[in-house]
C-alpha cells in the first residue's frame, strides 16, 4: 500500500541526455539524424527563387572581394628598423616616468635623464625607439609622421586634454599609426565606483576618436615614484607583440629619426666666422624606403638640404644573433641613446669614441680643458701667430696680474684675450700645461705626447688636410680617443692612398679599397708595434707598392698561356682595333670560352652562360663576348665602334680576372705569403668591379668635372677611359641620335658569318632543354604507356635511359658511391615534381583566381628582389639599391645654418625625410580643405592659402572665408607633394594658443601650375540721359578703351532691368550707350558683374623652429596678421564712416491731397462728387445761450428734487424686479399646469383607444365567428 504513494518516474524531455535518447530512437527507426534536415527534407531547401539566390550569391561574393586588398610587393626588410614608439601626452601626465619604467623593464638599466630617442632591444626580433613628445605643436606634427606606435598618456584624474585630441587629429591626417591609450593617475580616485565610471567614460570617448575597441591601458598607481612593475611588464608585452599596418607615406619615403648629431665643420672656419654654415653628420636608423646617396632630405624645423654623403655604420643596438632560446640574456639587452649619454661607445665611420662621463671624465676634463682652451685661444685670433705673440705681450702688461707675471717669466707667449674669458682660479693651472705643449711642439712629434696636444698640432698644421680628417678633429672637444692608434693608422693609409697610383676607376671604390688596405696594414701593424709612425707609413707604402707590382707578375705566371694574356693586356692598354690574324689570341679566347661553358657551344644562346656566371653584369653581356670569340675564330677583320671595343675590353679584363681567381685558388705556392694574397684578392676585387660601370659612370664624373677643367689624367691607369671621355667632349655638339650605326658591317654572303647567327632563328639548333625532339622524348618517358583511343594503337613506353640507369643502379646499389645515389634521388624527385606539376595544372586550374595569380606574381617579384642582392655585401649593395631600411646610417649634410648646431636641443626630434623625385620643388598645390569642426573661428583671407569654391560652370571663385561646415578648395605656393597626401593647418605654431589649435585639415588634390582663381568684381554706373530703352551711362569706366573691352557685356540695374553695353560715348570720358529691356529711371544704379583673376602669392616660408634658441623653440611665428601688426605698432584702424552702424531714423512721409480734375468731377454722379459744403462754422456769440447761475435756495430745491427722483427711481427699479420675478413664477406654474393637462389628456386618450381597440377586436372576432358559426 505504501508504494502507491510514491511518484512515478517522469521521462526527461529536455536536456542533453534526452536529446541523445531521441536521436538514438530516431536512428533505430532509420529516420536519420535531426541535423541533416537538408537531406531529410530536401524540398524545404530547394531553390525557391532564382533571383533571390543570385542576389545572395552576389552579396557573398561582394563581401568576399571587398576584403581583398590590391596585392603589393612585399618590401619589408629582413632586419627591420626599430619601431618608433612615441610617448605623447599633456605635461605632468607621467611620460618620462613611463619611458624610464619601460626602459628599465626591457634592459634593467635606469636612465635618469632622457633626452632624445632611446633605442632598446625589446625582444629577439624587435627593437624599440622610444621618444617623448611634448605639447609643442611642431613636435607633435613631426612625430606623428614617423610614429609606428603612439602611447597616448591620459591623466584620468583630470580627463582628456586638448593636446590628446590635437595629436589624434594630426595622426589622422598622416595616416593613422597604431595608437594605444594609457590612463595614469588612477590612484587619485577615492571611490572605486567613481573610478570605474571614469574608466568607462574615458574608454568610450577614446573609442569614438580612435576606433571602437582600441586598447586602453590602465596604470593604476605609483610605487616609489614609479609605475607598478607588473603593469609595465604587461605594457611592454603589448608593445613587443603588436603588429603594424604599413602606412603609405611612410613606406614610400625614406626617413630617419636622428639619434645623434655631430658638427663636422672645419674649426678654422668657425674660428674665422662663428656664424658660418655648418657641416653636420646625423645618425639614425633608416626607415621607410631605400635612401639613395646624394638625394635631398627635408629636416622639419630646419629646411631642405642635399645629402652630401651617406654611409652605413655597424648597428649600435643590434638584434641578438639567431639562437634557439626563449629570452634575451643580459648582454643582449642593449640600450642606445647617444643624446642621453647612454651607450658610451660611439662608432663613427672611421673611429671609435668612448664618452667618459661620470666622475673620471669630470676630473680629466678639468685637466685637459686648459690646454684645449689655450689651443683654442691660439687659434682664435685672426692674425698670424707672430703677430699674435707680439700683440699678446702688450696686452698682457696692461692686464698685469700677480700670478700672470710668473707666466710671463716662464714663457713669452701669452693669450690675453682668452684670459678674460677664463676665471682666475683655474686659469693659472691651464696656462702651465699650455706652455708644456708649446715645448713639445717644438721638439716634434713623439708618440708619448698628450692626446689633446697631438690634436692641437694637427689642427694647426694640417688645416689644409683632407676633409675626412676633420671629423674626428672636431669631435675631440668633448670626447677622447679610444683607439688613437687606429685613427692615426687610418690617416696614414689615406695619405698613402693618394700616393699610390690607383686604377682608373678607383674613385668610386675608395671605401672598399680603404677597408681592405686597412686590414692588410693591421697585420703589418701587429708585427711592428714599436716602429715610429713615419717608418710605419713608409713601410706600408712600400708594401702595398710591392703588392701592386708583385701581383701582376704572379698572375701572369699562373696563366698557362701567358703570351695570350700579354696580348690581351696590350689590347687593354692601347686602343687598338682587333686584328685577329694572331692565332694565339684566338686560342686564348676560346680557352676562356670553354672554361666558362663546359659544353663549349658557340651558339648565341645565353642560358648556360647565365648559370655559370656569378655576376649579373655578366649575364647582361654574354653575347658580345661570345661574338668576339666567333669573330676571332672566323678570322675576319673586325672594326667596331670605340664603345663596343671598350665593352669588349672590359669583358676580357673581367675574364682575365676570373681566370686568376680560379687558378690562384688552386695554387699552393703563395700560401706562405698571406698578406700578398690578401692584396691580390683586393686587387682582383678592384678590377672586377670596374668594367661597365666604369664605362658608363666613370665618364660621367668626367662630364661633370668638365666645367672645372680637364682632369682626365686622374682617371688614368689600366683602363683608359679618358679616351671616350675626351671623345664625348669632342662630341659635345654632335648629332643627337638614338640609332646605333654599324660601323663595320659583316659580309653576310659568307657562309661562316651566316652560320654565326643561324641558331638565332627557330630553324636553327635549339638548346638541350628546349629542343622539341628531346622534350618529346622526355615526355614519353614520363608518361610511359598510353593508348591512342582513336586509332586503337597502343604505345609502349620503352624504358628510357634514365630508368635503365636506375635499374642498373638498383642492382649495384651496394657498390656505388653516395654521389650517384644522390643523383638518382634527384632524378626521382624531379620526376615526382613534374608529375605533381601536371596534376596541379590539371586540377587546380579552376580554383586559382585572378587575385591569386596577382598575389603569386607579387610574391615571385619579392623573392626575386630579395634574391638579387642576398649574397652581396652591404658595401656593394648600397651602391645598387641604395641604403635599405633597417640600416644604421650616418648622413653628412653641408650648409646647415649655424643656429641648428648652436641651439641644438636633444629634446626636439630631428627627422630627416627623404624627398622624392620632384618633391624638393616648390609650386602651386591645390587642396580640398575643411575647417576643423572644433576650431572656433572661420578662416579668413589673411591665411597663406587662398580659398575658393568651384561654381557649377567650373569657375573657381575666391572665397574670403572658409565655409562653416563644408569643404572648399584651397591653393598655395609650397612644396610639391604627391596627390592624396593629407595636410593640416594651424593658425600659429607658437605655443600660446588657448583653444583647439588645428585650424583645418584636408588633402592634396592637384599640382596644377595654371590654376585660375577669380574674384567677383562689380562695376557700377549711373544713367545720365534716358531715352526710351536706351540710356547713356557714366561712371562705370574711365576711358573709351575700357568700354571697348566690355562691349556687349551684360549689365543690370539694381531693380532687375537687364541690358547690354553698346558703344562708348565721346562726351564724358568712359561713358557709354547701353540698351535695356525697359526704360530706366534716373535713380537707377547700373552695375556689371565681372571676374578678376587673383594671383596666388609665391610665398613659401618653411618652419625653422629648430633654429630658435633653446627654450624658445615653440615660439616660432611665421607671419603676423595685420591685426597683430597694428597692435604691435599701435596703429589705429581708420574705419570707413559708411561702414559704421547708425540708428535708423525714419522720415515722416507726406502725402499730397487727392486732386480730382474739374471735368471728371462734373461727370461724376452726385454720390461720388466731392461735397463742397463747408463745415458748420462756429456758432455766433449771439446764439450761444448764457450759463444759469442758481441761488442757494434754488440749489437746495434742486438737490431735494434730485434726491427725491433718485429714491423714486430706486423704488421703480425694485418694483420692476419684483414684477419680473413674479411673472417668472407665474409662467412656471402655468407651464406645469399645462403639462399636467396634457398628461391627463394623453391618459384619457390612451384609455379611449384601448377601449376602442377592444371593441374592434371583439367585432372582428364576431365577424370571424360568424361564418364559422354559419357553417356549423
Amino acid at each position: 500500500m505504501e508504494t502507491k504513494d510514491q511518484k512515478k518516474h517522469r521521462k526527461k524531455n529536455s536536456g542533453p541526455k534526452a536529446e541523445k535518447k531521441k536521436k538514438r530512437h530516431l536512428q533505430d527507426l532509420q529516420l536519420g539524424d535531426e541535423e541533416d534536415a537538408r537531406k531529410r527534407n530536401p524540398k524545404a531547401f530547394a531553390v525557391q527563387s532564382a533571383v533571390r539566390m543570385a542576389r545572395s550569391f552576389h552579396r557573398t561574393q561582394d563581401l568576399k572581394t571587398k576584403k581583398h586588398h590590391i596585392p603589393v610587393v612585399d618590401r619589408t626588410p629582413l632586419e627591420p628598423p626599430p619601431i618608433v614608439v612615441v610617448v605623447m601626452g599633456p605635461p605632468k601626465v607621467g611620460k618620462s616616468t613611463l619611458i624610464q619604467c619601460l626602459i628599465r623593464n626591457f634592459t634593467r638599466q635606469k636612465l635618469t635623464e632622457i633626452r632624445g630617442p632611446v633605442t632598446i632591444v625589446s625582444g629577439k626580433k624587435r627593437r624599440l625607439t622610444i621618444i617623448e613628445c611634448g605639447c609643442d605643436i611642431n613636435m607633435m606634427i613631426d612625430l606623428a609622421k614617423v610614429a609606428d606606435l603612439v602611447l597616448m598618456l591620459i591623466d584620468a584624474s583630470f580627463g582628456f586634454e586638448m593636446e590628446t585630441f590635437e595629436f589624434l587629429n594630426i595622426c589622422q591626417v598622416h595616416g593613422f599609426p597604431k595608437i594605444m591609450g594609457v590612463l595614469t593617475h588612477l590612484d587619485s580616485f577615492k571611490h572605486n565606483k567613481q573610478l570605474k565610471k571614469t574608466k568607462k567614460r574615458l574608454k568610450h570617448r577614446f573609442w569614438t576618436e580612435v576606433y571602437p575597441g582600441a586598447k586602453l591601458f590602465y596604470l593604476s598607481g605609483m610605487v616609489h615614484g614609479e609605475y607598478q612593475n607588473q603593469e609595465i611588464h604587461n605594457l611592454g608585452r603589448f608593445i613587443t607583440v603588436m603588429k603594424f599596418r604599413p602606412l603609405t607615406w611612410q613606406t614610400s619615403h625614406p626617413y630617419i629619426l636622428a639619434d645623434r648629431m655631430e658638427d663636422l665643420t672645419n674649426p678654422e672656419d668657425i674660428r674665422t666666422n662663428n656664424k658660418c654654415d655648418r657641416k653636420v653628420s646625423l645618425y639614425g636608423y633608416l626607415r621607410g624606403a631605400h635612401l639613395k646617396n646624394k638625394s635631398q632630405v627635408h629636416i622639419p624645423g630646419v629646411g631642405d638640404f642635399a645629402v652630401s654623403d651617406v654611409s652605413f655604420l655597424p648597428d649600435p643596438c643590434a638584434l641578438p644573433e639567431q639562437q634557439k632560446k626563449r629570452c634575451l640574456n643580459e648582454k643582449e639587452k642593449l640600450v642606445y641613446a647617444p643624446l642621453s649619454g647612454v651607450g658610451g661607445v660611439l662608432y663613427d665611420k672611421d673611429a671609435v669614441y668612448v664618452d667618459l662621463g661620470g666622475s673620471h671624465g669630470f676630473q680629466e676634463s678639468e685637466e685637459v680643458r686648459p690646454t684645449h682652451e689655450l689651443v683654442q685661444s691660439l687659434i682664435s685670433t685672426h692674425s698670424t701667430i707672430d703677430a699674435k705673440m707680439a700683440s699678446s705681450r702688450v696686452t698682457l702688461f696692461t692686464d698685469s696680474k700677480p700670478l700672470g707675471s710668473e707666466d710671463i717669466d716662464n714663457q713669452g707667449q701669452w693669450m690675453p684675450k682668452e684670459e678674460k674669458q677664463v676665471d682666475l682660479k683655474t686659469g693659472r693651472v691651464r696656462r702651465k700645461a699650455i706652455f708644456g705643449d708649446e715645448e713639445e711642439d717644438e721638439s716634434g712629434d713623439s708618440d708619448d705626447e698628450d692626446d689633446e696636444m697631438s690634436e692641437g698640432d694637427r689642427l694647426e698644421n694640417s688645416c689644409s688636410d683632407d676633409e675626412t680628417e676633420e671629423g674626428p678633429d672636431a669631435e675631440v672637444t668633448d670626447k677622447q680617443y679610444m683607439s688613437r692608434k687606429g685613427i692615426k693608422r687610418q690617416k696614414l693609409e689615406m695619405e698613402e692612398d693618394f700616393e699610390v697610383d690607383l686604377p682608373a676607376f678607383a674613385d668610386s671604390d675608395d671605401d672598399l679599397e680603404r677597408s681592405s688596405v686597412e686590414e692588410e696594414a693591421e697585420e703589418a701593424d701587429e708585427s711592428s708595434e714599436e716602429e715610429d709612425s713615419t717608418a710605419e707609413e713608409e713601410r706600408d707604402i712600400l708594401e702595398s707598392k710591392a703588392v701592386r707590382e708583385g701581383g701582376k707578375p704572379e698572375l701572369l705566371q699562373t696563366d698557362d698561356s701567358s703570351d695570350s694574356l700579354n696580348m690581351e693586356k696590350s689590347l687593354t692598354r692601347k686602343k687598338a682595333t682587333f686584328t685577329t690574324s694572331d692565332s694565339g689570341h684566338c686560342t686564348a679566347e676560346e680557352a676562356f670560352a670553354s672554361e666558362d661553358e663546359p659544353e663549349g657551344n658557340s651558339s648565341l644562346s645565353t642560358e648556360e652562360e647565365d648559370s655559370e656566371n656569378e655576376e649579373a653584369i655578366r649575364k647582361k653581356f654574354p653575347k658580345p663576348q661570345v661574338v668576339s670569340s666567333q669573330k676571332l675564330g672566323s678570322g675576319n677583320l673586325i672594326d667596331e665602334t670605340s664603345d663596343i671595343e671598350d665593352l669588349l675590353k672590359e669583358e676580357e679584363d673581367y675574364k682575365e680576372e676570373n681566370n686568376y681567381s680560379t687558378e690562384t685558388s688552386g695554387a699552393l705556392k703563395w700560401k706562405e705569403d698571406l698578406s700578398r694574397k690578401a692584396a691580390e684578392a683586393f686587387l682582383r676585387q678592384q678590377q672586377i668591379t670596374p668594367n661597365l660601370r666604369k664605362l658608363i659612370y666613370g665618364t660621367v664624373t668626367e662630364d661633370n668635372e668638365e666645367e672645372d677643367g680637364d682632369n682626365g689624367e686622374e682617371l688614368g691607369g689600366l683602363f683608359r677611359v679618358s679616351q671616350p671621355a675626351s671623345e664625348c667632349k669632342h662630341k659635345a655638339d654632335s648629332l643627337d641620335c638614338s640609332r646605333f650605326h654599324v660601323e663595320a658591317p659583316h659580309d653576310w654572303d659568307l657562309e661562316e658569318v651566316m652560320n654565326s647567327i643561324r641558331d638565332c632563328f627557330v630553324t636553327g639548333k635549339w638548346e638541350e632543354d628546349k629542343d622539341a625532339a628531346k622534350i618529346l622524348a622526355e615526355d614519353e618517358e614520363l608518361y610511359g604507356d598510353f593508348e591512342d583511343l582513336e586509332t586503337g594503337d597502343v604505345h609502349k613506353g620503352k624504358p628510357g635511359p634514365d630508368t635503365q640507369i636506375e635499374d642498373v643502379e638498383e642492382e649495384i646499389k651496394e657498390e656505388i658511391d653516395p654521389s650517384a645515389e644522390e643523383s638518382a634521388k634527384k632524378k626521382h624527385l624531379e620526376k615526382k615534381r613534374k608529375l605533381k606539376e601536371m596534376f596541379d595544372a590539371e586540377y587546380d586550374e579552376g580554383e586559382s583566381t585572378y587575385f591569386d595569380d596577382l598575389k603569386g606574381e607579387m610574391q615571385k617579384q619579392a623573392q626575386l628582389n630579395r634574391a638579387e642582392f642576398e649574397d652581396q655585401d652591404d658595401e656593394a649593395r648600397v651602391q645598387y639599391e641604395g641604403f635599405r631600411p633597417g640600416m644604421y646610417v650616418r648622413i653628412e649634410i653641408e650648409n646647415v645654418p649655424c643656429e641648428f648646431v648652436l641651439n641644438f636641443d636633444p629634446h626636439y626630434p630631428i627627422i630627416l625625410g627623404g624627398l622624392g623625385n620632384s618633391e624638393g620643388n616648390v609650386g602651386y598645390v591645390q587642396m580640398r580643405l575643411k575647417k576643423h569642426r572644433w576650431y572656433k573661428k572661420i578662416l579668413k583671407f589673411q591665411t597663406i592659402p587662398l580659398y575658393y569654391i568651384e561654381d557649377h560652370n567650373g569657375r573657381q571663385r575666391l572665397l574670403k572665408y572658409t565655409p562653416q561646415h563644408m569643404h572648399c578648395g584651397a591653393t598655395f605656393w609650397g612644396p610639391i607633394t604627391p596627390q592624396g597626401t593629407g595636410f593640416l593647418a594651424v593658425q600659429s605654431v607658437s605655443g600660446n594658443m588657448p583653444d583647439f589649435r588645428i585650424a583645418a585639415t584636408g588633402v592634396v588634390l592637384d599640382l596644377d601650375k595654371s590654376i585660375k582663381i577669380v574674384k567677383k568684381l562689380k562695376l557700377t554706373g549711373f544713367p545720365y540721359k534716358i531715352f526710351k530703352n536706351t540710356s547713356f551711362i557714366k561712371g562705370m569706366f574711365n576711358s573709351a578703351l575700357e568700354v571697348a573691352k566690355f562691349e556687349g557685356a551684360v549689365i543690370r540695374t539694381v531693380s532687375g532691368i537687364r541690358g547690354q553695353i553698346k558703344k562708348a560715348l565721346r562726351a564724358p570720358e568712359g561713358a557709354f550707350r547701353a540698351t535695356f529691356e525697359d526704360k530706366l529711371l534716373m535713380s537707377d544704379i547700373v552695375f556689371m558683374r565681372t571676374w578678376y583673376p587673383v594671383s596666388v602669392p609665391a610665398f613659401y616660408n618653411p618652419v625653422t623652429s629648430l633654429l630658435k634658441p633653446i627654450g624658445e623653440k615653440d615660439t616660432w611665428s611665421g607671419m603676423r596678421t595685420t591685426g597683430q601688426l597694428r597692435l604691435a605698432h599701435g596703429i589705429k584702424l581708420k574705419a570707413n564712416k559708411d561702414s559704421l552702424y547708425k540708428p535708423i531714423v525714419r522720415q515722416k512721409k507726406h502725402f499730397n491731397s487727392l486732386h480730382i480734375p474739374k471735368a471728371l468731377q462734373k461727370a461724376l454722379p452726385f454720390k461720388s462728387k466731392p461735397k463742397t459744403q463747408a463745415k458748420a462754422g462756429k456758432t455766433p456769440k449771439d446764439r450761444v445761450r448764457p450759463a444759469v447761475i442758481r441761488e442757494p435756495h434754488e440749489r437746495k430745491i434742486l438737490a431735494l428734487l434730485d434726491a427725491l427722483s433718485t429714491v423714486h427711481s430706486e423704488k421703480m427699479k425694485k418694483a420692476k424686479e419684483q414684477r419680473h420675478l413674479h411673472n417668472k413664477e407665474h409662467f412656471k406654474m402655468k407651464q406645469k399646469e399645462e403639462e399636467e393637462k396634457l398628461k391627463r389628456q394623453k391618459d384619457l386618450r390612451k384609455k379611449l383607444y384601448r377601449i376602442q381597440g377592444q371593441k374592434e377586436r371583439r367585432n372582428q372576432k364576431s365577424s370571424l365567428k360568424g361564418p364559422e358559426e354559419q357553417l356549423k
Binding site: 647582361k620 653575347k623 640609332r739 646605333f740 645598387y880 620632384s918 616648390v922 595654371s1010
Partner: protein
C-alpha cells in the same frame, strides 16, 4: 631655395633630349651652356627649338629661358600634363626624334596623351615611326602600358626634305610600371616588314621586298613584307621609299632595322634592290648584336626600368649603343636609380 642648388648643369647640345626628358621626369631644373658655341651658326637649331616647344606643350608650368644667341638654355620643368595636342615638328629631323622622348614621358602624364605630330615620318637619321611602332610599343606593353588607347598610327607619310607626314600617338597613363624580366630573347620565329614608297612608282616597293627576301629567306621561311604605297595627300610633299624590317622572337622581343632612300636632291639616287639588300643585312647585324631589346630602344627600356617601382628588373642587352650609355650618364646625374646596369 633648395631648387637652385638642385639644378643640373651641362654644356654642349648633345643629348639634349635625354637631358630635358630626364629633367622633366626628375623635376630638377637643367641649365645647358655652350650650345654650339664654337659653331659658325651658334645656338639651338630649329628642330631643337621645336622639341623644346613640344616639351612646353606636354607640360604645365615649365619655364624656359634661352639667351639671345641661343647658346644657353635654362629649363625648369613643370608638371607633365598631357591631353590632346598637336605639334608641327621640324622637317630637319624625323618624327622619331620627338616620338622617342614622348615614349619616355607619356606614361607619366596627368591626363592620357593624345598627340598629332606633323613632319617627316621616315628619314635616314632617326628611327622611323614604323620601327618605333613595331618595336617600342611592344616593349612598353611589357611594362604594363597597354590598353585600347595605346596606339601609334601613321596617318600620312612624309619624306624629307618636304615632310608633310602625320602621326597620331596616344598613350594611357600608368603610375606604376611592371618590373620586367627579359633575359631570354628566344629564337626568331618570324620577320615582318614594311616597304613604303611615296610619290614614286608603286613598283619600287615590290622591288625592295624581293631583294630583301632574297637574303632573309636563307634563314627563315616565315617572312612577310607589306608594301605600303600612299597616294594623294597622304603621301607627303617629297618622293622617297624605304624599308623597315622587324624580327620577332618566340619570347616576344623585337629586333628591327630600317633604311630609307636618300632625300630628293641630296646624294646619289638609290636602287631599291640595293636598299632592300642593305636593310636585310642591317637586320642580320642587329640579330648578331642580340639582346632582348634592339639597339634603338635600349635606353627606353633602361629608363622605364629605373622609373618603375623598387623591384628588380632584368634585361639582356646587346652591346650598348652610345646613346644608351649617355642616357645612363644623364640618368645618374638626375639622381635616378643609378647603377641600374650593374646589377
Amino acid at each position: 631655395m633648395a631648387t637652385q642648388a638642385h639644378s643640373l648643369s651641362y654644356s654642349g647640345c648633345n643629348f639634349l633630349r635625354q637631358r630635358l626628358v630626364l629633367s622633366t621626369l626628375s623635376g630638377r631644373p637643367v641649365k645647358i651652356r655652350k650650345i654650339r658655341a664654337r659653331d659658325d651658326n651658334p645656338g639651338l637649331r630649329d628642330f631643337e627649338a621645336s622639341f623644346i616647344r613640344l616639351l612646353d606643350k606636354v607640360t604645365n608650368g615649365s619655364r624656359i629661358e634661352i639667351n639671345q644667341t641661343g647658346t644657353t638654355l635654362y629649363y625648369q620643368p613643370g608638371l607633365l600634363y598631357g591631353g590632346s595636342l598637336e605639334h608641327d615638328c621640324s622637317v630637319l629631323r624625323g618624327i622619331g626624334y620627338y616620338l622617342e622622348s614622348l615614349l619616355c614621358l607619356a606614361p607619366f602624364m596627368k591626363h592620357p596623351l593624345r598627340i598629332v605630330l606633323r613632319g617627316v615620318t621616315n628619314d635616314q637619321v632617326d628611327p622611323s615611326v614604323d620601327v618605333l611602332k613595331a618595336t617600342a610599343l611592344p616593349l612598353l606593353k611589357q611594362f604594363g602600358i597597354d590598353g585600347e588607347s595605346f596606339e601609334l598610327k601613321v596617318v600620312r607619310r612624309g619624306m624629307p626634305p618636304g615632310g608633310g607626314g602625320e602621326v597620331f600617338f596616344s598613350c594611357p597613363v600608368r603610375k606604376i610600371l611592371k618590373p620586367i624580366q627579359l633575359i631570354d630573347p628566344g629564337k626568331i620565329k618570324r620577320i615582318r616588314g614594311m616597304a613604303y614608297s611615296v610619290r614614286v612608282s608603286p613598283q619600287m616597293a615590290n622591288r625592295i621586298v624581293d631583294s630583301a627576301r632574297s637574303i632573309l629567306n636563307k634563314f627563315l621561311p616565315d617572312i612577310y613584307i607589306y608594301t605600303d604605297h600612299m597616294k594623294g595627300i597622304n603621301s607627303g610633299k617629297s618622293p622617297g621609299f624605304g624599308l623597315s624590317l622587324v624580327a620577332e622572337t618566340t619570347n616576344g622581343t623585337f629586333l628591327s632595322a630600317e633604311l630609307a632612300s636618300n632625300p630628293q636632291g641630296q646624294g646619289a639616287a638609290m636602287l631599291p634592290e640595293d636598299l632592300g639588300r642593305n636593310c636585310a643585312r642591317l637586320l642580320l647585324e642587329e640579330i648578331y648584336r642580340g639582346g632582348c631589346v634592339d639597339s634603338t630602344n635600349q635606353s627606353l627600356a633602361l629608363l622605364l626600368m629605373t622609373l618603375g617601382q623598387q623591384d628588380v628588373s632584368k634585361v639582356l642587352l646587346g652591346p650598348l649603343s652610345p646613346y644608351t650609355i649617355f642616357t645612363l650618364m644623364v640618368a645618374r646625374g638626375c639622381q635616378f636609380l643609378a647603377y641600374i646596369l650593374i646589377l
